[in-house]
């Protein structure tokens, strides 16, 4: 990614680390992750459960749990957040959330306030960020957002329990979009939905990026979703580290990292060469100094245990963390 791109980024994360400490034990959930999201761009973050995706998502919006220690740089446009756990950054995040960045979580049923109608929850977000809005302006804006998300206008007066699973997720999205944020962090947004509803939502997300020029960080465990989305870039995480990153074509079609290959092959639709990622492979606390994927890698050698590979540039817009990748001569 060139320097000009970085300057235009809505969100830029540099060497972010998240670790949890309970008592004397400490676990690193996210290690040295860097990424950038530009306006109108979808970045897909791919990784299985426990790879640190959600920790990353929470850290990006400043809602890490109390036990977490976050370090690194997060830059929203001109706002730089590098010193976490201070009142200042908490206030800054408070101003950014909703207005600049919004996020949607997996469980919409729990994330919606069960005692308030969808319209009221949208209105709350709007008036919080634009206190001067009149009631009729709020109504017009809510109707517009509901239409954008293909929700019936009656959804405004519905309580969450009256909506179906897919509608709930879209209602959640409607509330997230109420203050017109420029960046959306979607964390496993479609995991609880069936295939058809999933596709509708993915289309909506595509539309938000293409038509509304929103930047979207789409976090998922499903490689197929990353393929369906018009994701510009794909980042593959394993054990809290970035294993492979780059443009969609490079990562999903010209896959180089053995872990990404296994992740793509575990798709049930490609049954003829399906491999199952067994529980034993999900090592989330790797050996110190070894490749994080060492214990499960089919291509490992003793060198992989002694020397941890760097995230190296293989070609333009394609980065891989593995010792055994063909390097392009340049």
């Amino acid at each position: 990614m060139g320097q000009t791109d970085r300057r235009n980024a809505l969100l830029q994360v540099d060497r972010l680390n998240v670790s949890y400490s309970v008592g004397t034990r400490s676990v690193t959930a996210v290690r040295d992750i860097s990424l950038a999201v530009r306006a109108g761009e979808i970045v897909a973050l791919l990784g299985e459960s426990g790879s640190g995706k959600s920790s990353l998502a929470r850290a990006i919006v400043g809602l890490s749990p109390k036990e977490a220690t976050v370090s690194g740089d997060i830059r929203y446009g001109n706002h730089l957040i590098s010193d976490f756990d201070t009142d200042y950054q908490e206030k800054l995040f408070g101003r950014l959330r909703g207005r600049i960045v919004a996020s949607v979580f997996q469980d919409a049923a729990a994330a919606l306030h069960p005692l308030m109608t969808v319209g009221k929850q949208m209105a709350d977000v709007m008036t919080e960020h634009f206190p001067s809005l009149t009631n009729s302006e709020v109504r017009v804006k809510s109707r517009h957002i509901l239409k954008l998300l293909h929700l019936p206008p009656e959804a405004k007066d519905a309580y969450p329990h009256e909506l179906s699973g897919g509608q709930k997720q879209r209602a959640m999205l409607a509330i997230a979009l109420a203050a017109r944020p420029r960046l959306l962090v979607a964390d496993e947004m479609t995991s609880a939905l069936d295939q058809k509803t999933k596709n509708v939502l993915l289309d909506l997300v595509n539309g938000l990026a293409l038509l509304e020029r929103m930047g979207i960080l789409y976090i998922t465990h499903d490689p197929k979703e990353a393929e369906t989305l018009c994701a510009g870039r794909v980042i593959v995480m394993y054990a809290g580290e970035c294993m492979e990153a780059g443009s969609r074509e490079h990562v999903l079609e010209g896959t180089l990292h053995p872990y990404t290959k296994r992740l793509l092959d575990s798709d049930p639709a490609k049954a003829e060469r399906q491999t199952v990622i067994t529980a034993g492979e999900r090592v989330t606390s790797p050996m110190e100094g070894a490749c994080p994927y060492y214990s499960a890698c089919p291509r490992r050698t003793s060198y992989c245990r002694m020397e941890k590979p760097f995230l190296q540039k293989v070609k333009e817009d394609h980065y891989v963390r593995c010792h055994y990748v063909p390097m392009e001569d340049d």
């Binding site: 408070g94 959330r97 306030h113």
Partner: protein
């Protein structure tokens, strides 16, 4: 809230007291030395006290006073206790720690001692008693609301609301308060009964309401000599007044608890 039998009875009881007190108000405190310590008769339906005052009139006016003080005190206790408990639990940190240590310190001192101490330093008055009873009552409320807030503050939709940049006070008002409402309603009744009992206790000890203001407490204090002389109704009636009110309040609490669980 469903209209269960205890709630209806309590409402009727309160209506009788307030309406009756309103009617007999002009006759309150009239001393008739020609008719002291009289048994119930057609003139004085519930008899008279040692100063010849009509017991029915005094009872109604006293019951009203006791209810109003109870309601005022429990409202004060609820508003301050809920605010302090919620803010403490939601913000946490040194703010919460300070509040809870103040609370612990106040709880360590016996309530009656605290009340008598404060009353001794101030002029006895109607408002004063209500405020002081409220100031003692919030301790309990704050504790319970605080623990309740801790439970609801970690709900997913609270996190989602924070995510959308909704301010802390709005979150407390819209996302946490509705969940505590059931508990707070029960607490209101418990505070009410507590405040009424306490008011009667300090008035009986002569440190609550001024003696000319009728309340079950002051009536019992007046009846102390009468009881020894065999004028049992002078102590029995205000005692029953208090007991009936408190039993009805607690019956409401029991039905509300069943509703809530």
């Amino acid at each position: 809230m469903r209209l269960s039998i205890p709630v209806v009875l309590l409402a009727m009881w309160c209506f009788v007291i307030f309406f009756g007190a309103h009617i007999v108000e002009p006759r309150a405190g009239i001393i008739d030395l020609t008719a002291i310590n009289e048994l119930p008769s057609s003139v004085h339906l519930l008899g008279t006290d040692a100063l010849g005052r009509d017991m029915l009139v005094t009872l109604l006016v006293g019951g009203q006073t006791s209810l109003i003080i109870g309601i005022m005190a429990s409202l004060i206790a609820l508003v301050s206790g809920t605010t302090i408990g919620m803010l403490g639990a939601y913000y946490g940190g040194w703010f919460d720690t300070c509040l809870m240590r103040i609370l612990d310190t106040m709880r360590a001192v016996p309530t009656l001692l605290l009340l008598l101490f404060w009353q001794a330093m101030t002029e006895p008055s109607f408002i004063g008693v209500a405020v002081i009873l409220g100031a003692v009552g919030w301790l309990y409320t704050a504790r319970i609301v605080r623990s309740e807030t801790h439970i609801h503050a970690t709900r997913e939709h609270v996190l989602a609301a924070r995510m959308m940049g909704i301010g802390s006070l709005t979150i407390i008002r819209r996302h946490i308060l509705p969940y505590c409402a059931g508990r707070i309603r029960i607490l209101f009744l418990l505070e009410l009964s507590g405040a009424m009992t306490m008011e009667a206790a300090i008035s009986f000890l002569g440190m609550g309401l001024p003696p000319h203001m009728p309340s079950p407490g002051t009536m019992l204090a007046h009846a102390m000599n009468g009881v020894l002389l065999g004028h049992w109704w002078q102590a029995f009636l205000p005692g029953m007044m208090l007991v009936i009110t408190l039993v009805l309040v607690h019956a409401c609490v029991v039905t509300m608890k069943k509703e809530a669980l």
